[in-house]
Amino acid sequence: MNTQSIVAIITLIETLIPTIGAIISEITNLVNNLSNATPEEKEALIARIKAAQAKLPEWK
């Protein structure tokens, strides 16, 4: 991993920043747009969120 790699990563992160803004506007419609997901589907999504959380290690 060299500084060029870091630059590549940072450039991509910069690309992602406007995307996060778009995500927020999507979520704004959430409350008035309740889904028809079953409890089982919801549990599967919760499991995915927990797995995503667990994937991020603490940097000691």
């Binding site: 991993m1 500084t3 630059v7 920043i17 996060i20 999507e26 704004t28 959430l30 889904s35 959380q53």
Partner: protein, 139 residues
């Protein structure tokens, strides 16, 4: 190594595009949440590797580490908030009591606002990381 990481991040970008076409908000939000986590993991992997090789000053590595750990903490709280919102939504759908329904909807609105705030905070932490890397002379 570099190619692998760039490819990983490109995958995240493609995922976000695909996710934008999905129909269920929970599916959409969960996939986006996962994508953000993948980006954070890539940052951590790249920055840690750079520090382990001694390519960045130890003091700067401490700053990078703290920035990542802060973002990670925000990410975890955002995930917990999202889970709570999903559970509340299910209760909302199951309840027929009008007053209870109103209460649950209000609670959900609060949780969604909290989630939005956390994602914004995460966004700011990304910017902080970029500023920090620039000051370190990364580019």
């Amino acid at each position: 190594m570099r190619k692998k990481q760039v490819l990983g991040l490109l995958t995240v970008l493609i995922m976000i595009t695909i996710v934008a076409c999905a129909s269920l908000w929970k599916e959409k939000t969960t996939a986006t949440y996962e994508s953000i986590g993948n980006v954070l993991a890539s940052i951590q992997q790249g920055a840690k590797s750079t520090c382990d090789q001694g390519l960045i000053k130890p003091d700067d590595c401490v700053k990078l580490r703290d920035s990542y750990n802060k973002a990670r903490q925000v990410y975890i709280v955002a995930g917990d908030t999202l889970i709570e919102a999903m559970n509340i939504e299910e209760l909302y759908k199951e309840t027929s009591d009008v007053i209870k329904k109103k209460e649950l909807k209000e609670k959900m609105e609060i949780l969604i606002k909290k989630y939005q705030g956390l994602i914004l905070e995460l966004n700011n932490l990304y910017k902080e990381y970029i500023d920090m890397a620039t000051k370190m002379g990364v580019r």
